[in-house]
């Protein structure tokens, strides 16, 4: 699926106030997601990254403010229509027992299906492509819960891919995965965005991986955006100190050329040499 530039959907949030029926986690936040690129949201624990992502994907209703998808208020659009344009993968999804890979990927077609049209040509093709692109062709008939962590995450991504949405929101898609699997997933997402023109927004914990794979970074702290922009604008010693409270040295990644943040030991610590 190749998206035309005209079908790129702008996703914006204005003056958002978010909470889980308690104290406010995010207040007065405005955000503009660049279309057709990979954006990574980073920040310390509890800064509101997941909360923001959920609001962008209408999982969480904002207490105040508005989220606009292609100029329309997200809360006013029918949820199935949104599901055809925005796909979201929450943290730690649980696959039911006894579900095969292809069965789970198929469920991603729900927004496109009608009462009597449960397996149209489009459905079949989208699922096929999703399985091929994520490299799951051999595992298509295996049970999801029998796969390794990395493979399972690929299955969930395939499901979101099968949804065929121009925008993909992913909440910590690489946490709990070992390094090799993390790289695998991030390479996949980056290539999807480049080849298919999708907008990918993901919450990441690892600042360096975010700088390496995202075209845009959004750094948050305490429910507000401290700095955003391309990796070299965001990853600097001053910003890292501001957002993470950490002293660091930022150098050029010798392999990819993206900024590499090296944390410095805290001041006054013993030198064990």
């Amino acid at each position: 699926m190749q998206l035309e530039p005209e079908t790129l959907l702008p996703l914006k949030g204005f003056d958002l106030g978010l909470s889980y029926n308690g104290p406010k986690i995010v207040d007065g936040l405005s955000i503009d997601i660049p279309a057709g690129e990979v954006t990574a949201i980073v920040g310390p624990n509890g800064c509101g990254k997941s909360t923001l992502l959920k609001a962008l994907g209408r999982i969480l209703t904002p207490d105040s403010g508005i989220v606009l998808l292609d100029g329309e208020d997200l809360q006013l659009r029918p949820t199935k229509a949104i599901a055809r344009e925005v796909g979201l993968l929450p943290q730690n999804p649980q696959a039911p027992e006894a579900v095969t890979v292809s069965d789970l990927v198929r469920r991603g077609r729900y927004p496109h299906q009608r009462l009597f049209s449960q397996w149209s040509k489009n459905d079949e093709e989208a699922v096929e492509e999703a399985i091929v692109v994520t490299g799951l062709t051999e595992s298509a008939n295996r049970l999801v819960n029998e796969l390794s962590g990395g493979q399972r995450q690929r299955v969930w991504i395939a499901m979101v891919l099968a949804q065929e949405t121009p925008i993909m929101l992913l909440d910590e898609p690489t946490t709990h995965l070992d390094l090799a699997h993390q790289i695998e997933i991030l390479e996949l997402l980056k290539s999807l965005s480049e080849l298919q023109g999708r907008t990918v927004v993901m919450v990441l914990h690892d600042l360096n991986l975010a700088a390496r794979y995202a075209a845009n970074l959004i750094a948050m702290r305490n429910g507000e955006i401290r700095v955003s922009g391309p990796p070299w604008d965001v990853v600097s010693a001053a910003n890292v100190r501001n957002v993470f409270g950490l002293e660091s040295l930022v150098i050029d990644d010798p392999v990819t050329g993206s900024p590499l943040c090296i944390p410095l030991p805290p001041a006054g610590s013993q030198n064990f040499e």
């Binding site: 949820t79 199935k80 229509a81 949104i82 929450p90 649980q94 039911p96 991603g108 049209s117």
Partner: protein
Amino acid sequence: MRCDTVSFSAVVTPVIPTLGVVIAAVLFTAALLMFSERLPLRSITFRLGSISGLVQTKVMCLGAGTALITAVLIGVGLMVGDYPVPASRALGTALWDRSGEYDFVINHLRFPRLVVAVLSGMCLAASGFIFQSLINNPLVSPDIIGINSGAAVCAVAILAIGGNVSYVPWAAFAGAVLTAGLVYVLSWKRGVEATRIVLVGIGINALLGSVITFIIVRYPIEQVVAAARWQAGTLFGSSWDDVRILAIGLSVLLPLALVFTVRLRTLQLGDEVAVALGSSVEPDRLALLIVGSLLAALATSVIGPIGFVALIVPQAARMLVGTISGGALLFTSLFGGFFLLGADLVAQRLFAPVMLPAGIITAAMGGPYFLFLLARYNSAT
């Protein structure tokens, strides 16, 4: 001449072989189902204009096999009993020849009872399927939402005071539905959560249970025994009216359940993923609960509360079929019909001429079934 034929048949067909036929049918089915586990996982696509769907061949085979076995069991059930009927006459009398010496036995006693067993088994199994998939817990059945105790309170009340017996099914249905609604409302707190429904259900069941106990203690023993018998669940005295009620209900509710199965598949992935896929979680859940409750209430009001069908059958079916789908629902339903039919036949013949309520057999099967479940899981983990 006629009498001689009947008594000769009675001598030639003693109880043990007839029971043996039933058991053989059960074992044969078990074998068939085990064998079907080795069937490859292939799917068939069908498309006609804008109508399309995907069917697993394995589920289809299992469904067809179960339907076949059920038909065979119905045939057996027509022949077997205190008045054995030879095979050739059994089918004939049931299907096209309404007159004849066997008409009363076949068409008024046996045939309706067999059909009621199949239809109510289908309702209960489908209901259990919905509840177990919704609440994602293998120990769950429609009882938890108070269907059985709701139906029982109304039925026991009417029977104990010696009221008009024909009101019992309607009162039972109303009681079941109202109780389910009450449990739902009491457990609703910004949405329905599985654990809350279970716990509130336990409370309401206990409350209604105490009301039933109160009734049982208050009224004369002769009337109370009738109430207790209803509570054990029995297909004795099933009529074609019962068949009509069940058939109409099933023909409305089962297609609805099939339609909602797609939403069930989405809900299974967790609330957040379901919303992300465009499902409206609470209305979908409510709709499924309503359909599931109506199915169980329908069956319970006709045959009384028969335990364990709605609990065991979906479990067993899931072991064979795995993932939930429209086909899985249909197969579970058919399997439930077969199961209850078998249980009823065993209940009738096991201690002939004493007829046990079918509920006793399903309860008796419950014990070994759970031990089997434990053994299987404990060896797997």
